[in-house]
């Protein structure tokens, strides 16, 4: 696929902003955990991004490929079904130019980095660092690249009408479903649930980190959505303003919806749920950022913000899934809604208005990615225990795995809080 010079330049600029999304997500995960695990959360983010990126370099890009490059296909029912790329490993012979292949390789690395951070929210405060690296490497080598090929590189999902410009499904639902598998395998944090199954509140240690992370993530999302629209939706450069407007609008309406809903239900707006709502809105608009009119983007975001609040409650209260960072609700649930919204509300000039395609994509995510993630991580758990022992959880992952806390200068003096 050939890009004009303007498209290449714009895509590159957008991709240079993209890593801010990963930085924001790392801050959000760190802030939503307790202070005894803060350094470990940040270290895990760095290691997950590195492991996933290196695995993508070794073999991931081979499987993802790019539109117009060599593929592996299966003949079924008289058709050739494009199921994987066949590019050289180690990014060999990657053109050192602003070519489409080089730009999709960069987009792939940034996307896999973001996807690898999502499961950390689900497994926070009890997931060992070595296991995080192994799981992230598998995500970067196999899970993400396969699905990305099916959706972004001309694979079979694209051929049934599935559309996902900015990665609602490819990045966020893949990451969110992996977070679900990890949360199931690890089990809840020590002390999270009473013997009767009542969840205890475990507030994060820094809502300021979380909210600042949201703003950073918003900036990064602008880059990723614009790059995705250019590279994978065939959007013309003049359409990028609409993509950016839709992205900000969806995040804003989602945050306001979450804040209003928590105010109505609990008497006060909840900051962490509002933060999750904001990210949920960004996730929901990623699929249809180039094809939704602004009003539809605002509606999609508002619905995502509402879904996040109810979903967090459902997962924690009814299903007893301990998800410290809200990854499953924010990324998997909002991502699925985003895919549906792109099919239901989209106005695509290329003619792709297929709810069927979006439903097949969602079915693929649950029917292929979930069993794969759960099975591989369960198998890895046999050889390398994923969960920290109770003593490690009690003293905090910082001291247990890293030997040093994140805030060694902070000493809590109880008499500082006495009224004078």
């Amino acid at each position: 696929m050939a890009l004009t010079e303007l498209q290449s330049a714009l895509a590159l600029v957008c991709l240079l902003i993209g890593p801010l999304a990963a930085a924001g997500l790392a801050l959000i995960n760190t802030g939503l955990g307790r202070s005894r695990n803060a350094a470990h959360a940040a270290m895990s983010a760095l290691c997950a991004v590195s492991a996933a990126g290196c695995a993508y370099f070794v073999v991931g890009h081979t499987l993802q490929g790019a539109t117009g490059q060599s593929i592996r296909a299966l003949s079924l029912g008289g058709h050739a079904w494009d199921f994987a790329g066949a590019m050289p490993p180690f990014l060999m012979r990657l053109p050192a130019s602003g070519s489409y292949t080089a730009l999709t390789a960069l987009m792939g690395m940034e996307s896999v980095a973001l996807a690898s951070l999502i499961p950390l929210g689900g497994g926070g405060e009890r997931w060992r660092l070595g296991s995080i690296c192994a799981s992230s490497a598998f995500l970067g080598a196999i899970t993400f690249p396969l699905f990305a090929h099916w959706t972004w590189s001309g694979g079979w999902l694209r051929s049934v009408g599935y559309t996902d410009a900015g990665g609602s499904g490819t990045i966020h639902v893949v990451g969110g479903i992996t977070a679900l598998a990890i949360a199931w395998l690890l089990g809840p944090r020590r002390g999270k649930y009473s013997s009767e199954g009542m969840p205890m509140a475990v507030p994060g240690h820094s809502i300021v980190l979380v909210l600042f992370g949201c703003l950073l993530a918003g900036a990064g999302w602008l880059g990723l959505n614009c790059a995705g629209a250019l590279l994978f939706s065939g959007a013309r450069p003049e359409r990028l303003a609409l993509v950016a407007v839709n992205t900000l609008l969806a995040g804003s309406s989602a945050a306001l919806a979450s804040a209003a809903l928590t105010r109505a239900r609990f008497g006060r707006a909840d900051a962490s749920l509002t933060a999750n709502g904001w990210v949920g809105g960004l996730v929901s608009i990623s699929a249809g950022c180039a094809i939704l009119p602004p009003a539809a983007a605002a509606l999609a975001g508002a619905i995502a913000g509402t879904l996040v609040v109810f979903s967090v409650e459902l997962l924690e209260l009814r299903l007893e899934i301990d998800d410290p960072g809200g990854s499953i609700s924010v990324h998997a649930i909002s991502g699925c809604w985003g895919l549906l919204a792109a099919g239901l509300l989209g106005r695509d000039p290329a003619g792709i208005e297929s709810v069927f395609g979006q439903l097949v994509g969602i079915a693929t995510l649950f029917g292929f990615v979930l069993p794969l993630s759960w099975g591989v991580n369960a198998a890895m758990d046999r050889f390398f225990i994923m969960r920290a022992p109770p003593e490690g959880e009690r003293q905090g992952m910082d001291l247990y795995e890293l030997g040093a806390g994140a805030y060694p200068d902070f000493i809590t003096h109880t008499d500082d809080f006495l009224q004078r």
């Binding site: 029912g77 009767e196 299903l319 069927f356 079915a363 292929f368």
Partner: protein, 59 residues
């Protein structure tokens, strides 16, 4: 029970793939795919229920 749930999830997805590969676009393909989706939904429900902790007050 967990394994059964995940196997049903995967089987339901394979049914949807079969519908897309073997049937032309139309009502029959959609119905076949819906059947596959129902098997997937069943598998997901089974997987979720199998991960719920056993509690004496749960039915």
């Amino acid at each position: 029970m967990k394994i059964a749930g995940f196997l049903l999830l995967f089987s339901g997805w394979l049914l949807i793939l079969a519908a897309i590969a073997l049937l032309p676009a139309g009502m029959s393909r959609n119905i076949f795919a819906l059947a596959g989706g129902s098997v997937e939904a069943l598998g997901l429900i089974l997987a979720v229920r199998s991960h719920l902790p056993v509690r004496s007050d749960r039915g």
